[in-house]
Symmetry: C5
Subunit: 95 residues, 5 copies
């Protein structure tokens, strides 16, 4: 899984029918200090998160292992909202 | 999923039989401002889009989760045409 | 799928039994002008192509969606020979 | 699989229900000398390891081939703790 | 598939039970001249090769399409030992 920040929302009316009702969020990867520093990806929200939150997302076929994304052309899913992480005994990010 | 712009078309007469009738589009990834800036990929069109449109595509096995691409050697599919996206409360792209 | 040029052949006598009889080709990715510019990959030929031809290949589990590669440890397959592609209304490559 | 060092822990209370009870570890890839030098990833621990240990992780659908991660939206799993590795007849890392 | 050289061995006593008995080899990717130049990966040996040999490996779910790796958390498998390859009518590598 990859740590990322929710930085925006994407609207797409015309889409594969099975994607109807899903929420698309724009994510940017962060480094271990929580700074935005990596690439961008659009992920389906499976946990009810909002812009500004720090999340984890899963890619590839693993992104289809939720009820919301099963059998759908979805290759990235937010599967957790992050409370905190610790490196070397210190919190690097806290909600 | 990845945001990309449809920049061209690809024609291939001789191909794996299961790919007959599919439309191949050339996509270039865009940044969060909608500028072409990333790599290129050829994707199958599952939503009826055209050159110049902003789309989302799914990769890997997720690219086979549409009726059009099921069980086919297709690893990238356009599964949505993008209307707009918003970052920091501002529209960064509008159709 | 990715656009690539067939630049060579690979011979491997000792291999997983299920790979017997398959032809391994060395591919180099090309840019939208058809110039060799990207990485290298070895792909199984599912369409009967030869050195020098411009092709498309599929990666990952999608590379196993042909009769030739089904259930085999193959992660890249040439699934089409490219006739031409067009960007901005101009042919960038023609066979 | 990729060699990596466990450098931290990630806590996420709100998550896809199927991920309950799993331990999320923050890994950094190492080079062949065992120095941290590559990217970061969050992986589920399937072997009971701790911060500071050198491990191998598997990605993609292969990350779901453990009892702990089966059918879950998990795309990276620690599937081994590394004792040592050898390059050119010399140990480059020993536990 | 990717061309790589076997440069070392990895020992891991504590691991996911299904990985027992598998041999882990450290591979480095090579360029088309056979020079070590790319990234490193740990792969399971499905063909009985040794350090110093030039091989091909398959990644992702395709790495599980051998009897040895089926249903295991393995994302890279050596599925062939390379005899030679040719680019532009010249051997670039011969065993």
């Amino acid at each position: 899984m990859v740590l990322a920040k929710v930085i925006g929302t994407v609207v797409a009316t015309r889409k594969e029918a099975s994607m109807d009702g899903l929420k698309f969020l724009l994510l940017r990867q962060v480094d271990t200090d929580g700074k935005e520093s990596g690439g961008f990806v659009v992920a389906v929200d499976a946990v009810g998160c909002g812009v500004g939150e720090m999340v984890m997302y899963a890619s590839g076929s693993s992104a289809r292992q939720t009820k919301m994304t099963e059998n759908r052309p979805c290759d990235a899913v937010i599967m957790a909202i992050v409370d905190n992480w610790e490196v070397g005994g210190k919190y690097k990010y806290q909600k």
